[in-house]
Structure formats: C-alpha cells, structure tokens
Amino acid sequence: MTLMERVRETTVGRSIFRIPDRVTERDKAAGHWASFLLHIYPVKVRRIELTFNYSAFLGVASLVLFGSLLVSGIYLMFFYVPSPASAYGNIQAIQTEVPFGQYIRNVHRWSAHLMVIAVAAHMARVFYRGAYKSPKEFNWVIGVLLLVVTLLLSFTGYLLPWDQLAYWAVTVGTAMASYVPLVGDQVKELLLGGPSVGSATLVRFYVLHVAVLPLALVGLVTIHLWRWRKDSMLTLDPDKGTVKDVRPGVLVSTPADPVVTNGKRILGVVPGKPAAGDRKELSDDDPVMVWPHLLVRHAVAALVVLFLVLLISLSFDAPLKEIANPTVTPNPEKAPWYFAALQELLAHYHPLVAGVLVPTGIVVGLMALPYMDRNPLFTPQARRIARLTFTAFLVLWIVLTLIGFAFRGPNWGWVWPWVEWHGEL
C-alpha cells in the first residue's frame, strides 16, 4: 500500500478525497470527476495527445509561465508603490537592497517575454494541427482573446519601472489609440488619465496590471480549459470508449469491471476470455487515461519551463534605463519586441492603418478564422492553402519584428545589428 493510499484511508483522508478507494477503472476515473483540481482535465484523451509532436506542451507552458508571473509579481508588489516619485527608486531598491530582489524581477520579466512566445507558439501549433476546427471553433476565439490579454498585461507592466524605456514606449503605444476614429482621443485620455503619460497613467496601468487584466486572464483561462475538457471528450471515438488501462503502445488486460452475462452479474473469477479483450497495439485515436499519462507529461513540461526561467533569470538581468524624463526622447526609441513589427509598419504607413486597422484586422481575422475555413479535413495535404497563407503571414510578421528589433537605429534608420544599436527587452 503506497503512502498516498494510506493517507486516503484515514478518517481525515476520507473527508478530503471524495473517492478514497481506487480499485477499478471507474474509481480511477472518478479521481478526475470527483476532484476539483483534477476535473479541469478531461478524464481520457486520445493517445496522440500524449506526444510531444502533438502540442509541444505549449499550452501548459503558457499556464506555468502565468503561474510564475503571479508568484513573482506578488513578491514585487510588496516593494513597489505606483507613483512617479517612488516607482523608479523602488525598482532600484528591489535590485540592490531586497534579498533575491534582482532575481525575482528577472523571473517576472523573462517569464513575461517567454509567455508571449509560448502563447503565440501555442496558437501556431494549434493552427497547424487544424485544432481550431469543429467543435473547437469557439475555444480558438477564447485563445485569441487570451493572446490579446497577454500582450496587454505585458504592455501595462512595461510602464511600471518608470524608466526611459517604459515612459516612451507607452507614450507611443497609447498615441496609437488616438487614431481610432471618433472616440480615439477620449480613449487615449481615459487610458492615460490626462493629456500625456503622468502619475495618473502609472496608477491606471498598475491597477490594470495587477488586478483587472489578471482577473480577466484567469476568467478566460477557466473557460478555455473547461472548453478544452468538454471539446476533447467530444473528439473521443465512442466505439473505442471501452479501452482499459493503458501504457503507451500496449493495452494491458486488467481486472474487468463486473460483466453482465445472461442478465446476471459475474463477480468472481471465471474461466474463459478476459473481458477486457486481448492485448493489442493502440492506435492514435484510442483513448487513454489522462491520469497518470498526460498528467505526468505536463508535470515534466512544467519542470522544464521553470528550469528554463531559472536559468535565464540567473544569467541575464532585466534592463533598467535612466529614470523617465518627459523632456528627452531616447534615440532610438523602441517598442517592446512583440510590438516591433507594428512600429516598423508605423514608420511606413499612416497611423490609422498601421496602428489601428492592422492590429484590429489581425485580431478579428484570427477570431474569424475557424468560421471562414470550411475545410473539414485535418491532414496537411488537404490544407495546403490554409497552411501556406498562415505561414506567409507568420513569416512576414517575424521578418518585420526582426527588422524593427534588430535593424533599426537612431531616427529609425537602417543599421546592421552588429554595428551599434539593438532593441532592449
């Protein structure tokens, strides 16, 4: 008897776990549907969903990074007051006086960047898999909203150190809002709390960053996971629903649940064929228990992500420029890297196009994608046009981002990255 089994059998254990005895397949599955924490997972998934190639575990990576951001963010909140008089000094104190302060700030900064990458990559992976198709169209829409909230969280957090990098990136970013037709100026002033970035802006961004947007993200993630659970159960083949406990690749006969023969339940050992069927190779679509197979893989993925964050945070310090100065714009002034493509477009096209229509078009277009793509097939060969179009946009965006981030110098002129200037993270 394992330790956990002993714990579950105690009086206290029996009060905590709704299904303390886990003998049959049904009991084990009940571990999911009877437990609050585990019922965010489906009970079973198709076997292919266990593989790295299927998802690269990017969804779970995004969630783990969000957890890392919550924890490190809470630590930072103890040492930070959102006022222009104190913000910059607080960050300096976090870096120099607070034990492990620099490390925690690094974790927060790098997790934020990694989360943007993980969420975007998750989305691309889902696209290439065709996983936005029926019945998962709406969950893709929620995913697009999650990408937007992730970017907004990153952007609002960008202002909080109140350094030159923060001040001017937010000046430019919010100025784009003023080009929204009709309500642009009001929206901009509502965001800034005044005509330009100032103390009201810092408080507004702080409230958005630590309360409004995280709550929105948690709410959306809840729906996202719930829909994932519901939709993945729909994709299970009902005819294959009788498959018992499984190790990847091989079906292992296990003691069967009570079998009904001639209207009578047989509860004892009887000679004859095992009720669970013969050993057989599992196909990709056969259902397997999420617990333990998927859960163990997610735990490993989480450890890998956290180890990566640890490694980066120990190796590189988050940047902090001079204190914000409204009378001096740094040259070059660069947006955070995930907006570098937009900044590059802004240097060529009217702000209404590059700052309003393009970003809105991207978000609306992504949301509309599952409703526009009527092709019911999933194989790469059957989705040539969709894959080609998406890849073209993705490559264009990556190239624009690279140009804006690495190839632009003073006065937004062209510079080779090895010469002098580069973007700041």
């Binding site: 100025a175 802004l346 702000p351």
Partner: protein, 165 residues
C-alpha cells in the same frame, strides 16, 4: 401581453439600465480632469530674444519658439505622429523625430516620414512685453505639402547620438 413575457422583458430592461448606469459611472469616474500645470498659460521670454535662424526651447510649455517670416510662432515639441518629443537638430536646421523618423523644417512643415501633418502650434499672446504661450489652445499642424518657409537642410542630420541617446 402575457404576465410571463412582461416580467421577462422587465428584468431584461432593468439589467440593461443597470449596465448603462455602470458604464456611465465608470466613464465619468475615470475621465481625466485637466491636469494641473499643463493646459495653462505659460509666461516665457521677451519677443526680442526669439531667434530667426534656430529655435528656443521652452520646456515648461513643451514648446519651441522661433521667428517665421518675422512672426513669432510656438511649435509643440510633441510629434504629431505618435507623441515623441521632437528635438531640433542644429546641424541640419530641422526637427528630427527619433521614434519613426519624421522630420520637419523650422516652421514645423512636414518634410518626410510617417507623420500625418506638420507640428502643432500653440496660440501666443504678448502681455507686458513677454510672450505668453497658451498650451490649452493647440492648433493642428499644417497638412503635408504645406510650404511656410523654404529652408532646405543646411547640413547633415543628427542621426548619431546627440539628443539623449
């Protein structure tokens, strides 16, 4: 109308009113009041000290004073594109925006880059021999193609370092 559908419609209308009231309250609550110190009249210098070949920065007003065709103008130093501060480059005699590369001549006419119009101007008044810049009275910059003065760049641009790089 049936009692049931009346009640359904009534609670939905009520919820609609509540949402409207919530939106109105939030809007009014969060709408910025005029910030102190800005949107105010700022007393600067005597008209005689305003140069005709370069510009004089008035940091409190976030503006430049210069003489264009014997007339004093106050140009807003906030770029008409996306709000960066536009520094004046002494070597070229032009304004060069560091953010997206817009540039303007000494009169604030758009010479190139992505800005949608020239530099904005503030209304000025001469009170007791001192120029007063009214930062609340902002006049949008001239549309692209406007030629207030014909001053081609007099030298190389300030792309290297210089203004706060």
């Amino acid at each position: 109308m049936e009692r049931r559908s009346f009640l359904t419609r009534a609670w939905k209308t009520g919820a609609g009113f509540l949402a409207g009231a919530g939106a109105w309250t939030s809007w009014d609550l969060l709408r910025p009041r005029n910030a102190a110190g800005f949107n105010a009249k700022i007393r600067t210098v005597s008209p005689d000290t305003v140069p005709a070949n370069t510009v004089l920065e008035i940091p409190e007003a976030r503006a430049y004073l210069t003489k264009i065709n014997d007339e004093i103008v106050a140009l807003s130093e906030v770029c008409s594109h996306l709000g960066c501060r536009v520094p004046f480059c002494d070597s070229s005699g032009q304004f060069e925006c560091p953010c997206h590369g817009s540039f303007f001549n000494r009169a604030g006419d758009l010479q190139g880059g992505p800005a949608p119009r020239g530099m904005d101007r503030f209304k000025i008044e001469i009170v007791d021999g001192v120029i007063e810049i009214d930062t609340a009275e902002r006049e949008s910059g001239a549309p692209p193609g406007t030629v207030t003065i014909n001053e081609p760049p007099r030298g190389p641009p300030c792309t290297e370092g210089g203004h706060g790089a």
